[in-house]
């Protein structure tokens, strides 16, 4: 069966996100009261699989995230 997968990988709480800091500062310079901007990574793909959640979890652990510094979440939906 074929699935549509959406994965978000985030730097763990408390870890400095320099890219987010710079973008947040740029928005503040434009006059917006932005705080704590973070830049997660977003992946989407289609996956042919019998156990999509298990496989996506494994993909996150093996490559998409570095478990030492990242957390992740994902959504799996059947391709209509």
């Amino acid at each position: 069966m074929k699935w549509k997968v959406k994965v978000i990988v985030r730097l763990k709480e408390g870890l400095n996100d320099p890219e987010g800091r710079v973008i947040g500062k740029a928005l503040r310079n434009l006059g917006y009261a932005v705080e704590n901007l973070r830049v997660p990574k977003y992946f989407e793909f289609e996956l042919e699989s019998e156990n999509p959640e298990e496989e996506v979890e494994e993909m996150c652990r093996k490559l998409l995230a570095n478990p030492l510094i990242h957390s992740w979440e994902y959504r799996v939906e059947p391709v209509s």
């Binding site: 730097l11 870890l15 400095n16 320099p18 890219e19 800091r21 710079v22 990574k41 093996k62 490559l63 998409l64 570095n66 030492l68 510094i69």
Partner: protein
């Protein structure tokens, strides 16, 4: 004569300089495309550059290539494995060294000379340095901010310092925990360094301080 492989991934760009530094240190060196085998070599060096354009995370994709299985064998057998800059990033991503290299604390690419304090001269890569010696090498990285959960358990080899060897906040270019610039595995036969020893291996480059990394490694591999 001992022979070192200098592994080349798509995007590697410090392979020639590294090969030259190893030869200057008295061993044979050969640039090896990542799809080739590492058999017939005594040690392996993962040089600097931008493997796979640093997509996803620096070193992440190179760390999952088949050749890394052979690099892990080298590490397990106690043979020398040296990762420089992108090579260090690959070694942490492959789980051969503890920790991770995050984007620099100040959000830009850093390319400059730094002072380093030799924190551990008992590894195969640092045996020719004096303990506490202060040396100069260049850094050139966007993701060199070393992080590890428990730094007290890590074998720290070089730390960013001032000219006198004081490990201070001001001397830390990228935000690394405890000013860590290079770490080894527990046995010492795997070393990752963000500063580039090959770019400090000849007086015309501005320093020869990095050459001892290669000389130590070659001397050790000869035994």
């Amino acid at each position: 004569m001992v022979r070192f492989a200098v592994v080349v991934f798509p995007g590697t760009n410090c392979d020639f300089e590294t090969e030259r530094a190893i030869r200057k240190a008295g061993a044979e060196a050969e640039r090896v495309w990542y799809k080739r085998s590492l058999k017939d070599f005594d040690g392996v060096v993962l040089p600097g550059g931008f493997s796979y354009a640093d997509y996803l995370r620096a070193g992440a994709i190179a760390a999952r290539q088949e050749i890394m299985g052979e690099v892990k064998e080298f590490a397990r057998e106690g043979r020398p494995v040296l990762g420089i800059c992108n090579g260090f990033q690959i070694l942490t991503e492959a789980g051969l060294l503890p920790g991770a290299l995050r984007p620099n604390k100040i959000s830009r690419f850093l390319c400059r000379w730094v002072h380093l304090r030799v924190a551990d001269n008992e590894t195969p890569f640092t045996s020719l340095y004096e303990p506490g010696e202060v040396i100069r090498m260049p850094i050139a990285h966007a993701e060199g901010n070393y992080y590890v959960d428990n730094p007290s358990k890590v074998r720290i080899v070089f730390q960013y310092s001032d000219e006198e060897g004081n490990v201070t906040e001001a001397a830390n270019p990228n935000g690394s925990v405890l000013n860590i610039a290079a770490v080894a595995n527990g046995r010492g036969n795997v070393l990752g360094t963000m500063p580039h020893p090959e770019r400090a291996s000849d007086s015309f480059l501005g320093s020869e301080d990095g050459l001892k990394v290669f000389k130590s490694m070659v001397e050790w591999a000869r035994r």
